[in-house]
Amino acid sequence: MLIGFGTLLVTGCGGSQNSQNDLGLEVKTITYWSAPNPQEYALAERLVDEWNQNNPGVQVKLQALPAGQSSEEVLLSAMVAGTTPDVCSNIWPGITNDFIRANGLYPLDKFEDFNEIMEERVPEDVVESVKAADGHTYQVPWKTNPIMIQYNVDMFREAGVENFPKTYSEFLKAAEKITQDTDGDGRIDQWMGYRDIRPIWWQRYYDYYTSYITASGGKTLFEKEELAIDEQASNQVFAFFKALYDRGFFPRSTLQGNAFLYGRIAVEFTGPWNIAYLENNAPASLNYDFAPVPVPDGFEGDTYTYGDHKNIAIFSNTEHPEESWEFVKFLITREADYQLLNFARQIPIRKNLLEDPDFKEYFQQNPMLARFAEQAAYTRGVDGVRDFKEILDTVARYYEMSSVYGELSPEQATIEMMGAIEVIREWNK
């Protein structure tokens, strides 16, 4: 009896339905899930309203992904329960492999105009990077949050550092000047920066993983599903952070509270979402700006970084694939991209964003966001390999051992880390 009662409580929402509107015409309904954060949801509401007004025959029902632990788990559960939407725009590339294995996504390259649409908007190397192992493409690159360094302009100037450091050596020199004991009690209370030192896998996006992409000139950990770590880059990254912790420039502790806001640290690894946060919370005296992640000494080439990509996908149990594709195309039009920028302060993955006449003016008015837009073309995401989380967890352990606590040399750490990752892949074959 209680189980019956329980089933009544289950919030089930399925994919597509049909109904009839006032004119007696058949109306197709597609369900669209957006990210739950307030800005993106507000953006989604606007876009959906606009679409619904212009498309009486195909109505879109908007729902926010339930806020909770992680959207990946929510989507996987929905897949298991058969309650996926038609379209979702919060797809993290790292999980798509799991979705594809479960036959949960619709191959988008089946649509005739797919290639044309991709070419108009998305940079070529990104298009390549979202192709699945079976040659099909199951996701449309939508937006990116490039990781850059946010810094306190005044703290740098006061320490006598004129230009933001570009290389590791310059960064360490600046760190030496900035890290100090400001109130004379014998304990350092002002540091160059701070990173969460707990071995939590997703924290590594903001230190090792980003820096690795930078130091390797735009490589990720895998190439075509094979482990392909650029050892030199990995060593340099481990060594860089090790120096920061060994010399006390980054505190080996768990600082509480937003240290950047209070001027206790001068830099922070973050993304464009922080601009809104700073605008709302920073004291008026805080002077901040953004700069690219530093590169190893002697590095040549473009500065790449990690760009937490989010993509759009259509789920395979949709009843209206054609209509869903039309809606997806709508979500990536110039106008929609502009709304993404203006409303949600996020960067669309669109070619030549800064030179594009439609967007030029906006960036002139929003220089902070422009910094990220400049960087957006030079981003990499995660590899869609199985067990990516477990692999990053392994990276986290070696980062902790080598860089944070100095128990392993960078070279040793890289080698052992690669070995450990291979073991994981072996076990999970």
Partner: protein, 269 residues
């Protein structure tokens, strides 16, 4: 002389046990920058921490979720525990002792074994992200059965025989006669079940992903760990205080019962 030493030790003990709570309370009214201060009282009293908590997470919803789940579970455990305890103590039937042994066995099997398959069962029943998924697995516990059985064994047989002669049904005997005689057992089971279930966090973390359905401890744990608080210590502490408040209030009201139940349970096991 000895008495002074005694009281000093007791006061130091009291300080050690109370200070972290006191520290927490005052810290929730400090702006983040001040929390690191060794001084206890805020220089600048503020309620922004509480505002952040109420803004960011539906903590009152969490409170009600916890209240619903824990109340239903406690009631259910008392009812089914007493029914089964009665069946195992005052009625004779084949397989009675086997069932009792099995229930003892379940208490010895650590939850680690059953955790994952139970989760999968809940997924199959479609009860993830559903309060029923939290309630049903804990609706009856071997512990309650044990306690009730032990308590019922002490009821004089003549009373039961007399009631049967009067034409009372078994359930009637249980609910109208035996339970009223076993108030301590009922109170003990109710309190222990309530507290344990309210504070349970691992199971909700596994079963519930939708924030609107989370229990209060789960919500606060995720708020503190997951960065929803934007690294604001004050907000984290505020959420912790809000979480602790209902239990502390209930505790202060019912403390005598709490302590008596635990003492008697301890002696019995």
């Amino acid at each position: 002389m000895k008495k002074w030493g005694l009281y000093i030790s007791l006061f130091l003990g009291a300080l050690v046990f109370a200070y972290p709570f006191i520290w927490m309370i005052f810290s929730t009214f400090k702006p983040d920058g001040e929390i690191g201060n060794i001084a206890l009282l805020p220089i600048e009293w503020t309620i922004t921490n509480y505002q952040m908590v109420f803004d960011r997470i539906p903590i009152t919803k969490g409170f009600f979720n916890s209240l619903i789940v824990t109340s239903v579970v406690t009631t259910s455990v008392v009812i089914f525990g007493s029914i089964t305890g009665y069946a195992l103590s005052r009625l004779k039937w084949k397989g009675r002792d086997t069932l009792f042994s099995i229930s003892l066995l379940t208490m010895m099997v650590p939850f680690q074994i059953t955790l994952i398959p139970t989760y999968i069962l809940i997924v199959k029943l479609g009860l993830t992200d559903n309060l029923a998924g939290l309630i049903i697995p804990t609706m009856v516990t071997a512990f309650s059965i044990l306690l009730f059985r032990q308590s019922f064994l002490t009821v004089p047989q003549d009373l039961i025989d007399a009631a049967r002669l009067d034409g009372c049904s078994e359930l009637g005997i249980l609910f109208r006669m035996i339970l009223p005689l076993s108030k301590p057992a009922v109170v003990t089971v109710a309190i222990l079940t309530f507290v344990a279930n309210w504070n349970e966090v691992l199971w909700p973390l596994i079963v519930i992903r939708d924030q609107e359905l989370m229990t209060m401890p789960q919500m606060v744990a995720l708020f503190a760990v997951g960065g929803g608080a934007d690294a604001s210590i004050g907000a984290q502490l505020a959420s912790a205080l809000l979480l602790a408040l209902p239990v502390i209030i209930a505790y202060l009201i019912f403390q005598k019962h709490f302590i008596k139940s635990l003492a008697s349970t301890g002696l019995k096991s």
